[in-house]
Structures are given as C-alpha cells and as structure tokens.
C-alpha cells in the first residue's frame, strides 16, 4: 500500500477536562479530497493547525508524507504544504500588488538569502501567473490587494497557497466570502488538482450539500472522527444527532450525496412564520 500523506494516531489536544480533540486517528492517501464537517467548537480548525505544524498536540503521533512531524522535521515538511486559514481580523494595511502577495507563497520567500541562492527561480514568474490563472485573478495581478473585495482577496490568498504547488493543501472554510459561482469553481478546481496532480486536500466546510459532489469522503468531526463517509455512503441520523444535538431536522438528499444534510438546528416547535 502507498504511504499515506497524512497519518494521525490517537491525537489529543486541550486539557483532560475539556479536550478540543481526543482519540483522533485519521489516514488520508495521495490525491484524496476530504471534506471535514462538524459543529462550532468541534476542533476542525485545531485539527488543520495541528497537521500544518502550527500547534503541537498534547498526545498522539502525526506523520506527513511518511515522516514523523516534530520540532526537527516541521519546517522541511511544511515546504510541501499549502495552508489557508480563516481570516479572523482585517489583513494589514500594506500597499502590495496582487502578484507580490502570491509571490509570498513561493518557497524562496521562506528561506534565508543563502538558501535562496540555490533555489531555482527561473520559473517563479510563470508559477505566479499560473496560480493567479487557476483562481481567475490574472486580470487583477497589478491591482492593490487592499482595494479588492473580500471574495477577490480570498481567491488571491488561495493562489498564494497554491503557488508552490504543494502536495498537501489544508483549507479552512475557503468558500467564506465567495459567491456561489466562485464557490463551485473552487470545488471544481480542487477536484481537478487532486485528479491531475495527485494533490491531497483537506477542507473544512459547513455546507455539506455544496461539497458532496466533489469530495472523495467526508469526516464528521466532534472532538474525534464520529463517522467517515466515503462516496456512496449515507451519514446515519444518529451521527448528525451526536454532532448537532437532538434538535436537528434531517431531510433526505440527492442520491449521489455522501450524507443527509441538516437543514435546521431548531426544534420544530421553535419554527414560526413571519
């Protein structure tokens, strides 16, 4: 069997009384597109931060590309990784062109001058243009990043994550601020990258209905993986209830879907007409 790109075993994060993640084990192979869903506070962003090497788990073992992720190997492994986090505050007021923002994702930006001297920079401009092309932002490449809309900024941030052509892409709610057309285009692009470039994608999203046609599997997370649904599977009702509580309304969805989507988190008697 091929070495998995991501292998987590018995990962725990947080205090014993209030763990954010516990007994979490997960294995993702090359070229796999996985959606991660779960309620607020389920540990979705924490999980991506742990895989990205941003925070150290309190227990457990993590392998990336078949190598143990630890203090010594972290920076080397991060070179093959693209990460798009949730923007929690306004991005800084730095006057930069869109091209220069994307260039920050290049590996030459993350090495010292001496290491950078030995990097192949000949095709860096091509890589930037290609990444902008993928997110349909080529027309804005010389624009001031600060003057773009929220959705356009999100697409540029995605180009920054893609520009180094990572083997593993971690996306935390990448569709935030995107309109429905660009949301669909984003999922199509990620599917294409998985199929054609063998890229592995782990994507946190809330809207399972929007992603089911594109992903290979969906992990239902609430402190640990409650259910791992593969293509053709249906997520059982009890899994939804475990994740979102008893008040969730469950409707049957498209047959091609991985699971059933919760349409409301309110109990029926709380529904009222305006």
């Amino acid at each position: 069997m091929n070495t998995p790109v991501v292998h987590l075993s018995h990962v725990r994060f947080g205090s014993d009384k209030k763990p954010v993640l516990e007994h979490l084990s997960l294995e993702v192979g090359a070229g796999h597109f996985m959606g991660i869903i779960g309620p607020n506070g389920a540990g979705k962003s924490t999980l991506l931060s742990i895989i990205a090497g941003l925070i150290k788990p309190d227990a457990g073992h993590i392998d990336l590309f078949g190598k143990c992720l630890n203090k010594r190997t972290r920076r080397k492994l991060q070179r093959d990784l693209g990460y798009l986090h949730q923007v929690q505050s306004k991005l800084p007021d730095i006057p930069l062109r869109v091209r220069d923002v994307v260039a920050m994702g290049l590996s030459s930006y993350n090495t010292s001058l001496f290491q950078g001297l030995f990097n192949d920079k000949s095709n860096e401009q091509e890589k930037i243009t290609h990444a902008l092309d993928l997110v349909e932002m080529t027309a804005h490449q010389t624009s001031d990043f600060r003057r773009l809309s929220g959705g356009q900024q999100q697409r540029v941030r995605l180009a920054r994550a893609l520009v180094r052509q990572p083997k593993l892409l971690l996306l935390d709610e990448p569709s935030a601020a995107l309109d429905s057309r660009h949301q669909e285009k984003l999922y199509q692009l990620l599917r294409k990258l998985c199929d054609e470039q063998d890229m592995t994608v782990l994507m946190v999203e809330h809207d399972i209905a929007a992603i089911t046609s594109y992903v290979d599997s969906v992990a239902c997370l609430n402190k640990n993986i409650h259910y791992h649904a593969k293509k053709g599977d249906t997520i059982p009702d009890e899994v939804w209830r475990e994740m979102y509580g008893d008040h969730v309304n469950i409707v049957a969805h498209d047959a091609s879907c991985i699971g059933c989507a919760p349409v409301s988190h309110k109990p029926p008697h709380e529904h009222h007409h305006d």
Partner: protein
C-alpha cells in the same frame, strides 16, 4: 544658491556630519518599512527612551556611550518581544512599562553624574555635528549589520507582517525571526540617537516609509521611495540647519514631516479630485 551649496559642501563640520547622517538615512529608511508593516512605531518610542538607561549606565561606569546604549536598547527590545507571548501581558502595556522604568533609571543615573560629562540636550534632541570619529565607526559597523540582516531576512519579515499564521505554516521560523527583528530595530534606534536624540528618533524610524506608503506597490518600490524620501529629508534638513543655525536632528525630522504632508496631500488630491469618487 550656488554660493550656499558651495559653503555647505566645503564646511568641515557639515562634511563630518554628512557621512554618518546619510548612512543613518539609508538604514532607517530600510528599517522603517518593517516598523510600519509590523506596526511597531510605539516600540521605537519605547526603545529609544529606554536607551537613556544605557547612557546612564555608560556615564556612571565610564563605558563607551553608544555601544552601552546599543546593548541596553537591544536587550529592552528583546524583552518586549518575549514579554507578551510568555507573560500574558499586552505588548502595548509592556512597552509603556519598560519605557517608563528604563527612562526613570536613566534620569537617576545621569542626574548623579558630573554635569560636564553629559550633554543632556544632545542626548534628548541629538546633534550630529558633534559626532566623533569613534561614533562614526560604531554607526558604520551597526549599519553594515542592519543592512546584512535586511538582506537575509527582509522577505520573511515581509511575509510575517502580511500574515503571521500563513508565514509560520509555510516554514518560516516566526518566533525566532520576530526576536531578531526586534533586536535589529533596537540597534537601529540607538544609531539614530546621535542624530535625532532620544525624543525625535521615532521620526526617523517611521517617516521615510510613511511618505512612501502612499505610492509604493511592492517591497522594492516601497524601499526605493523610502530611501529617496529619507535622503532628501536628511540633506534638506542639514542644509536648513546650516542656513538658519537650527538643531540638525530637529531640522531633519521637520523636513521629513513636510515631505510626509506633501506626499499625503498629493495622494489625497489624486484620489479625491482627479479620480471620480463614489463616496457619499
């Protein structure tokens, strides 16, 4: 005008001041980009005032002024870099505490020293005209070190300023490089003390990039503009000081302030008068 320029460029006092002043202009213009990008203007205020403690220690123990002040300023800057993340204190408050504490220590030490040993006015407001050969040597070595640090780490610092989380996830040693950045800012601040004094140093650390911020669109263009504004401000300020017999540091800062106002005004006119505005 030609007579004035001839007198200025043949004045031995001005010629002695020109080299260190221009060297400081090159270094501060380059570092001011990082100060603005990382929003560290208050850090430069804190560190420059903290250097008074270093000067006080140097005067009390008869140590060389500039190197002692440099060590103190770098130590304070590193302490500020470590304090917020480790002790759970707000960086802003930490700067205020260290700034006041070290300033108090400096005042106490200097007040005990013999008055003829310390040019307090020079320390507070700077006087590049009194720069000694030894000071120039220290400033030269300091400049080489700061420019070398920028050459090696500017891109990483830039990436960190834009998005710290993504920078860390892409393999940049953010914690370590943040410490180095604070230390280099501390060193740069001390180099400016001779020119602009403890009170006015922040002007040199902020104004060149602030002028360029309206026009630059990439790291290189911002740096080139910042350098141009800094050199014009320094040369203009020194000439102004020579012509009207004004303090050199204050004249340079005032000239940079004028350049900032002009830059802001032209940028405002460009966006609000010459382009169609959709604002209400």
């Amino acid at each position: 005008m030609i007579n004035f320029l001839e007198a200025f460029f043949t004045s031995p006092v001005m010629m002695g001041a020109l080299f260190p002043a221009l060297l400081i202009a090159v270094v501060t213009s380059s570092m001011s980009m990082m100060v603005l990008a990382h929003r560290l203007s208050f850090l430069t205020v804190g560190v420059s005032h903290a250097s008074l403690a270093g000067l006080g220690i140097a005067v009390t123990l008869s140590l060389p002024l500039l190197p002692t002040a440099a060590v103190t300023a770098v130590a304070v800057a590193l302490l500020l870099a470590l304090m917020p993340s480790r002790q759970g204190i707000n960086e802003d408050a930490g700067t205020g505490v260290l700034f006041a504490g070290s300033m108090a220590l400096g005042v106490m030490l200097i007040s005990n020293a013999n008055s003829y040993e310390v040019d307090l006015f020079g320390l507070l407001f700077g006087n590049i005209l009194t720069v000694s050969e030894q000071d120039t040597t220290w400033i030269t070595w300091g400049s080489v070190f700061v420019l070398l640090a920028l050459l090696i780490w500017a891109k990483s610092w830039w990436s960190m300023a834009f998005d710290m989380i993504t920078a860390k996830a892409s393999g940049i040693a953010t914690s370590r490089l943040r410490l180095v950045l604070y230390g280099v800012i501390g060193l740069t601040v001390v180099m400016c003390v001779k020119l602009a004094g403890i009170v006015l140093t922040t002007g040199l650390m902020v104004l060149p990039a602030a002028c360029a911020w309206f026009w630059g669109r990439s790291m290189f263009s911002l740096w080139a503009l910042s350098l141009t504004f800094s050199i014009i401000g320094t040369l203009g300020g020194l000439m102004w000081s020579y012509q009207y017999d004004l303090p050199s540091g204050a004249s340079i800062i005032a000239m940079l302030c004028l350049l900032f106002i002009a830059s802001w005004l032209i940028s405002w006119l460009k966006h609000h008068v010459f382009e169609v505005s959709h604002d209400f």
